[in-house]
């Protein structure tokens, strides 16, 4: 195994592969199946100020080479996270880095969760979800330049921990939003969240998803994610976390070459929970085969 470790956000990631928010619970759910602590890290399910039931069923359906989810940010809430989830993380994720995904509807919501967690140990930083298409107003901050600037600034003032803003691809130019994040003190970007989508059961004439619409993820969005990552990485100097449709080492390498420092895997873990460790192994093999000594050589190494 080639050493795949790298420094990002002032911390060591043993490899660049993380599990994406909302697709790995709080880490614990995968224990017994894969060694989560051998990954680069995980991003928790979104944490909101209060516990949320989330959307009505049906929440999940299939699409061509992908899926739609409409979970609606169901989560245990700030206090539940501290009490029920963080202890397991603190005990079990000692090598893998942990980012806490934070969601909300007002600046106060986001700042409240961040400040509520600042004193806690066991995680590295925050991934700020301004890009959830599954709740009303979930993409508000992610699609409004002014609102995003205000939010990032407020969050910057509320914590010295790494602050990574997770962007939505549903904008004409994601680079503009990347620049706003950088200008207001963010430490990194995650690209991308899901695309709004809908599936109709033509026999019943109803939307399959209880909430009618949901977010499209999976291999179907791979080329969009690589594109968004490339745009973000060329427009700002911040580390970018590439997300969207990764199912094998080649996909992950596309993100690295496009400029991602880290990569998240979501939907593919549902299809095969061994995907993440296999991607780590595959990247290592690629490095060996191509004489890549350090993973950082690959980051943004796209040739013209």
């Amino acid at each position: 195994m080639v050493d795949l470790s790298l420094q990002v956000f002032g911390a060591t990631f043993q490899n660049p592969i993380l599990l994406a928010s909302g697709t790995c619970g709080y880490g614990q759910e995968y224990s017994g199946v894969i060694d989560v602590d051998a990954l680069g890290g995980i991003v928790t399910k979104a944490v909101t100020p209060k516990r949320r039931r989330g959307n009505l069923p049906t929440r999940i359906t299939e699409t061509p080479a992908g899926m739609i989810n409409s979970i609606g940010l169901a989560n245990v809430g700030l206090e539940g996270f501290k009490r029920e989830k963080l202890p397991w993380i603190q005990e079990n994720l000692r090598s893998a880095q942990v980012l806490v995904n934070v969601a909300g509807w007002t600046v106060e919501d986001f700042v409240g969760v961040v400040e509520g967690l600042n004193e806690e140990v066991g995680f590295l930083g925050y991934e700020i979800n301004v890009s959830c298409p599954n709740v009303k107003g979930g993409t508000l901050f992610g699609t409004d330049e002014k609102a995003l600037a205000v939010l990032v600034k407020a969050l910057r003032e509320s914590t010295s921990r790494p602050l990574i803003i997770k962007l939505t691809p549903n904008v004409p130019d994601i680079g503009v939003f990347a620049e706003i994040c950088e200008a207001n003190g963010a430490d990194g970007l995650s690209t991308i969240n899901t695309f709004p989508g809908m599936v109709i059961d033509v026999d019943t004439r109803r939307a399959v998803i209880g909430n009618e619409t949901g977010g499209v993820s999976g291999p179907a969005i791979l080329p969009m994610g690589v594109y968004a990552t490339r745009v973000a990485a060329t427009r700002v100097d911040l580390p970018v976390i590439g997300i969207g449709g990764v199912r094998n080492a080649k996909d992950a390498l596309q993100y690295l070459l496009a400029g991602a420092s880290l990569i998240q895997i979501g939907t593919a873990m549902f299809v095969d929970p061994f995907t993440a460790p296999e991607v780590v192994a595959g990247i290592s093999e690629f490095c060996e085969k191509h004489g890549v000594g350090e993973i950082s050589e690959l980051i943004g190494a796209l040739e013209a």
Partner: protein, 224 residues
Amino acid sequence: MMVGYGSEGYAVPFLPRPNSVAATIDGSVGLLIRIFGEGSRRLAQLDAGDSVLLLGPLGVGFDLGQAPRKVLCVAGGVGLAPFILLPRWAREALPDAEVHVLYGERDAAAVFDAGKLRELTGIDAEIWTEDGSLGRKGRITDGLELGDIDLVLACGPTPMLKAVRELALDSGTACQLAVEEHMACGMGTCIGCIVETVDPTTGEQRYARACIEGPVFRAEQLPW
């Protein structure tokens, strides 16, 4: 158990499908599959040597914990799957218990081979068809009597489960129901497969994940 094909081929089905373990023979698992859509068609077309991804067993199954003496299994359609394994297992766990299986289908053509079923379960299931083309005529719940039953277990379409639940609650019979939901991860991470549940003591309602907190719930837990 989740059954899938990996994501390399962008194959249909993309997501794995939840399936019951219908049989375990010498370390192999057996599934009972009804061809419905792409997932089940593909599964049914597998040849020996083909590979699929199996993840399981997962979640909470039927529980024979209270030493019931008369157990009734109510199977609607492919809801028969969990009850193929259960009678033998029940006889081992509870040598004195009686286990009955009611098995309903739309018509004779849909009915799983009765001889094979006897061989696998070691008992004779009572077969119902809606059109009467095999066994008793009508819906399986039409003549359902829970008088001397200690535990009723059901798996099948939701309307059937609801009917069984009603009868069980009326007669005070312990009752467990296997519910169906769309699933993605099968492991509790995606929170996609939720079922509204109620805490029988506090009355508090909440969404439970069918994949790991179910798919089997007690009748009192389902606020239907």
